[in-house]
Symmetry: C2
Subunit: 404 residues, 2 copies
């Protein structure tokens, strides 16, 4: 299938409006984002598996259920997670939707809500209310970039991506934005990520596609092993592309849609990993020839999650012992006497034991900003890829003083 | 029960000899340790749950099985883990035992072996052989301290502890030594720790006691979430105290022995956590009033394992949101609306939501070298304690350049 990368993020899809405004939750910069489509969209979400779920997640999950997977848009604030804020936090999250819906002239249950930032502090609702009013006025066809900026916390880069493809002669658009940085180790959910598309698809099938894709993309990245209270991915599909509606996973166009969604989510997931707090290097770990997909996933995630290997990458040290050690405690099934390991194209271990390799060339590979590690189990044909980043002094610095 | 702390480590127990010598595996300092008792001892061990087990572990496990839990001693080298070294690594580990047994004049299967250090490099057997020969000559009644030094890698402190207690009028001694520092997140096993005692106990009962105690002590510490390929705890019991042999867990003295063992292992485990690579602060997390012990353990270990909370402690930031977040993704069952959290004696959250607290006093508590966190589930009566350390710049520095 062919995709064409197009400019922009969530507003690269015709019909979607967005914006980012400054409401004063963060000292500087944009801190309230909105995505809105006057057309009622099919909508699906995946949410954190953390037992502690922030109020906006509970509210959004509730609305999606209540309205059977239809929504007009979402309002998102950064600078405050509205998590562990008790009953008043729940009321505040609901009020964010109500204020937005009132100004937009729609049903409040068609407006979703999300928050990201510090846990446990009450939302300053006066600032939020004014910010939402300003956001509604600021919605525009070119507001996607500002929206992507407004959801950032310690992120250094704006994360957005868009593409178009064809289904049966109809041009379909898809755009996405995401924020990540710390507390990133999604599990059946992920960081904040929002995807828009004009494909025609039913909410149920959209949900199926999103779950499948999330498991292979956002759920395969890790920055620090901490699964946030606020993770969510939401997709809005307006149906304006005019394709024959996709109402089952056997419908024409479903496979193409999933492939496009996977592409957008992979780009955003890798952007999140690359921009992990303090990261200097994107680490990609491919586990291949495993007996099951589960084994491959466990092993790949364990390696990108190992503090010791992450610190070695920061030090440009080809310490493959830490790779095989992390594979060993991952819970994956494999034969220790069969494992081959490669850093880039350099083989560093064969049949579970070290071999001579060019340390200088390995050091060079580790200094290029992206490093790929391959672990070959030589047993079956399942494979998986996980992404992460190195562990640097700056990770410690950023997180030692996050609230101050 | 009353314990009397006594001087020394493994040689605080009459009858045990030990030593530490320099064989040249490390640039400087002692790098081969030996513990030996001419009396054949009951012996039990627990070993890493990592699927990748270093050759010396496989050899030691094999000997304990072959000899039904009896041994005279152990030879341990630091500076090289003899892990992922293939068949020759296995042969080298066996040869370490053979060389020692030959010089000691005993059966090689009564001598155990352990290694710690870099993974994947062959042991320099010429140096090792000479070192073992020197070690046998250096064995002494006061060699425990040197032995404890010789098993250190990036450890900054020597870890040893000893006590005595009475069973039925007979004085029993117990001494221990350990090494830790990085790659510390034991699971059904732990770092290197060796315990000697003169109690009379059968190997089977000794094994039961060791497993029970290890689960509550060494398995409740974490430095970085990495479970090593080389973790082991081994206990030697000579029987020379002259108590009526403990041959069942209902035998007189069993409970007292377990309590003493728990005390020694807790001291060593906390020493390991406090001396985690780059650590400035020992973190103790108590989870209480949980529905089950498993829930309490999962939650406590998750908090001490959170990079984000560890970095906050390094920054003296009372960021309790990261505590509740780590509890939330721990897998423990609990009611998010009931959780209370304390840092020291300062309550920072009630019923899952933040409350006002004295940030300045919290900062002071976080600056004292040891901080205790209490998480109260207010549901049942199970509890657990876990220990860890903060995440500092020095952890990154040490691990970015471990091999160089």
């Amino acid at each position: 299938m062919e995709f064409t990368q197009i400019e922009g993020g969530v507003t690269a899809v015709p019909g979607f409006l967005a914006c980012g405004v400054h409401a004063g939750l963060k000292k500087d910069g944009l801190d309230i984002a909105m995505i809105y489509n006057p057309v009622l969209c099919s909508c699906a979400g995946v949410f954190t598996s953390n037992k502690i779920k922030a109020a906006p997640l509970l509210v959004t999950m509730d609305k999606l259920k209540l309205k059977h997977g239809y929504a007009h848009g979402i309002v998102i604030n950064s600078g405050n997670a509205n998590a562990c804020t008790g009953i008043s936090g729940f009321i505040n999250a609901k009020n964010m939707c109500a204020v937005a819906a009132n100004r937009l002239g729609t049903d409040e249950d068609y407006i979703l809500v999300a928050s990201t930032g510090v846990i446990g502090e009450p939302l300053p609702m006066d600032k939020i209310t004014k910010g939402i009013e300003l956001a509604v006025k600021s919605l525009s066809k070119s507001g996607g970039h500002d929206a992507a900026k407004a959801i950032m916390t310690t992120d250094l880069t704006v994360k957005e991506f868009a593409l178009s493809f064809e289904i049966d002669g109809k041009k379909v658009h898809m755009g996405g934005m995401a924020k990540g940085s710390g507390m990133i180790h999604p599990n059946m959910a992920t960081m904040l990520a929002y995807i828009t598309t004009d494909i025609s698809i039913s909410p149920d099938v959209l949900k199926k596609a999103l779950r499948e894709v999330t498991d292979d993309t956002f759920n395969m990245i890790t920055v620090d092993g901490d699964t946030s209270t606020n993770d969510m991915v939401v997709v809005f599909a307006s149906g304006e592309a005019g394709n024959a509606p996709i109402i089952e996973d056997t419908s024409k166009g479903y496979e193409a849609f999933v492939e496009a969604l996977r592409h957008v989510c992979t780009v955003l997931a890798k952007d999140i990993a690359r921009d992990g707090e303090g990261a200097t290097t994107l680490i990609e770990v491919n586990v291949k020839n495993a007996l099951t997909k589960r084994d491959a996933k466990l092993a790949a995630k364990s390696v990108v999650g190992s503090n010791l290997f992450k610190a070695a990458v920061f030090g440009k040290d080809a310490n493959w012992g830490r790779i095989i050690c992390a594979v060993g405690y991952s819970g994956a099934g494999f034969d220790p006497g069969k494992v081959d390991i490669y850093i880039g194209d350099i083989q560093v271990a064969r049949d579970g034991a070290g071999i001579e390799f060019d340390e200088e060339r390995a050091k060079k590979l580790l200094s290029m900003g992206t490093v790929s590690v391959t672990v070959d189990f030589k047993q079956g044909d399942a494979e998986a890829t996980a992404w992460g980043c190195d562990l640097s002094y700056d990770y410690v610095r950023i997180n030692a003083s996050y609230r101050t």
